[in-house]
């Protein structure tokens, strides 16, 4: 009945993250913050990040509204990135981008963990921007000062 592509896109883990987002909420200042949105579909994400003097991401949280893909991606991102250095975060982000866009193999698939489940987005090019929304906001937050 259901196509395999659709089942891959909406795996239980992904639906679970979208229904019960982890690290949901705001961080108190001082922290870095960025807002991301997809004007064409109305998805919105706010990301708050606290970075240590050494450049490690000590904590991050997000709030937002949007489709299951954008919210699950944000939730999984916060779990994966917490405790990473900014450089490590950038590497994960690039590998994740490759996976959802189908743009070559990730350099370190193991480091992606659960995020690899969003691979199904490849088959739905219009949803790439949903999957990348939180990651764009994270990048902007880290670049802000």
């Amino acid at each position: 009945m259901l196509s395999d592509d659709l089942r891959d896109l909406y795996q239980q883990v992904i639906l679970d993250h979208s229904r019960n987002p982890r690290n949901s909420g705001e961080l108190p200042p001082p922290c870095l913050h960025a807002h991301g949105d997809n004007p064409s579909c109305g998805d919105e994400i706010d990301v708050w990040v606290r970075v240590s003097d050494k450049g490690d991401i000590e904590d991050l949280k997000f709030t937002g509204q949007g489709c299951a893909i954008s919210q699950a991606s944000a939730s999984m991102m916060t779990q994966k990135i917490k405790g990473k250095s900014k450089d490590e975060a950038a590497a994960v982000r690039e590998d994740f981008r490759r996976v959802v866009m189908g743009d070559g193999a990730p350099t370190n698939e193991d480091a992606l963990g659960e995020l690899i489940l969003l691979e199904g987005v490849q088959k739905f090019p219009q949803r790439v921007k949903c999957a990348m929304l939180a990651w764009r906001a994270l990048e902007q937050a880290l670049e802000s000062k």
Partner: protein
């Protein structure tokens, strides 16, 4: 009416999508085209294609004749006094921009009010925002009530002698509300306002008589009423069109050109610079012939039945909230919000079952804010849709509920 036979005039509807029969419920965005329109377009390109108006050769004569015959058809279709009141545009959006940039720029001053409503499409908001910025005029909105109708008490206070232009949507693309156009236009005219009616969702769905409605301008698009994309119509009352300056300059719209200045043709040609969308105009004429053969009253009745059946059936889905009037008086669409799935997830799910809908803000962001929803999913209908397709829609909504919860 044999609606199943009429449906078979649309070759595109007979196909499988993702392993299921296509259920096309996105006609408010763009309708499908009957064979008659498709064949008219290919016949034009196979036999008659040439530029209009300027040459004396046979093909140009044929193209010009068919082009101007379409103008007459459009005039009759909407009850214009003369075909010279019919200006061909790229669509509804361009028609509104034309009025804003010609009549609007010429007539609006600081202190004047442009009145629109809270249920307008972005195309009937942004051109007026730009005009207000240029002229110092103020843009005001008639609020929308919870039931999706206009706040009639607010109309009484907002519709004043300062209102120079009252522009509003005939049938809302997001709510399905059918506004009482004739009554609203009469009120505005009594105070001296010029009126523009956005007919994007009403033309081709119900009989239109611009003289009975009393509007000064009426705008619509061909592609939402079985015609080709890229062609639309601006109707303007001749007394106004005659006073309006050109918008786009170029060929076709001039009488004489010297190095210093030019003189312009009378309407409608004054507003049709450059080579027009000839095949689009001819295709639009074929669409009008097709719709009139079915009968606009019949289409309106069928639209009404489909929309009401859809609303009635869709309320069976737990967690659904249907926007717009619930009193049985709505255009051929039903937009809704589900508490278990975001519009984009639902549209993706429905697509995998062959059902084509649209999810998002439907170019009415202020309205989405008003109803406190990030967006909605919209099922929109036309006369080629069937009750069985609505049953299928409900079945898919129930499957989605199982899938997402």
């Amino acid at each position: 009416m044999d609606w199943h036979r009429i449906r078979s005039d649309f070759p595109i509807l007979d196909q499988q999508v993702n392993g299921h029969p296509l259920v096309y419920l996105d006609s408010a965005a763009s309708s499908q085209k009957p064979r008659a329109v498709i064949q008219t377009l290919s016949r034009y390109y196979e036999r008659d294609n040439a530029n209009v108006h300027r040459a004396l050769h046979e093909l140009s004569n044929r193209a010009t004749e068919a082009f101007e015959a379409s103008r007459k058809k459009v005039a009759r279709f909407i009850g214009a006094a003369t075909e010279d009141e019919i200006i061909f545009t790229r669509g509804t959006t361009e028609g509104i921009n034309l009025v804003a940039n010609t009549w609007g720029t010429q007539n609006l001053r600081a202190g004047d009010v442009i009145l629109i409503t809270g249920m307008e499409h972005h195309s009937n908001i942004v051109p007026w925002q730009l005009l207000a910025q240029r002229t110092g005029a103020t843009l005001k909105y008639i609020p929308v009530l919870d039931d999706g109708t206009l706040d009639s008490a607010a109309i009484e206070t907002l519709l004043t002698e300062q209102v120079k232009l009252f522009a509003f949507v005939h049938i809302s693309n997001s709510l399905g509300t059918i506004n009482p156009a004739k009554e609203l236009i009469a009120k505005a005219k009594a105070l001296g306002a010029v009126t523009l009616l956005d007919g994007a969702q009403s033309a081709g769905h119900m009989p239109i008589d611009v003289q009975d409605l009393g509007c000064d301008f009426f705008v619509f698009s061909g592609h939402k009423m079985c015609g080709p994309t890229g062609i639309g119509v601006l109707y303007g009352r001749m007394a106004l069109l005659e006073t309006m300056p050109p918008w786009h300059g170029g060929g076709e719209m001039i009488l004489t050109v010297t190095m210093e200045s030019s003189t312009y043709k009378a309407p409608p040609h004054r507003f049709e610079a450059g080579t027009p969308d000839i095949s689009g105009v001819i295709g639009l004429g074929a669409a009008i012939d097709y719709l009139e053969a079915i009968g606009l009253e019949n289409i309106q009745r069928h639209d009404h039945n489909l929309a009401n059946y859809a609303v009635q059936r869709m309320t069976e889905v737990p967690g659904i909230r249907i926007l717009g009037p619930q009193n049985g008086h709505r255009g051929a669409l039903a937009a809704f919000h589900l508490d278990f799935a975001h519009p984009h997830d639902l549209v993706e799910f429905a697509n995998s079952h062959g059902v084509a809908m649209r999810g998002g803000h439907h170019c009415t962001q202020p309205l989405m804010k008003r109803f406190k929803v990030p967006g909605t999913t919209r099922a929109s209908f036309y006369f080629y849709n069937t009750l069985e397709e609505i049953n299928r829609l409900v079945e898919v909504l129930l499957l989605a509920r199982k899938f997402f919860t």
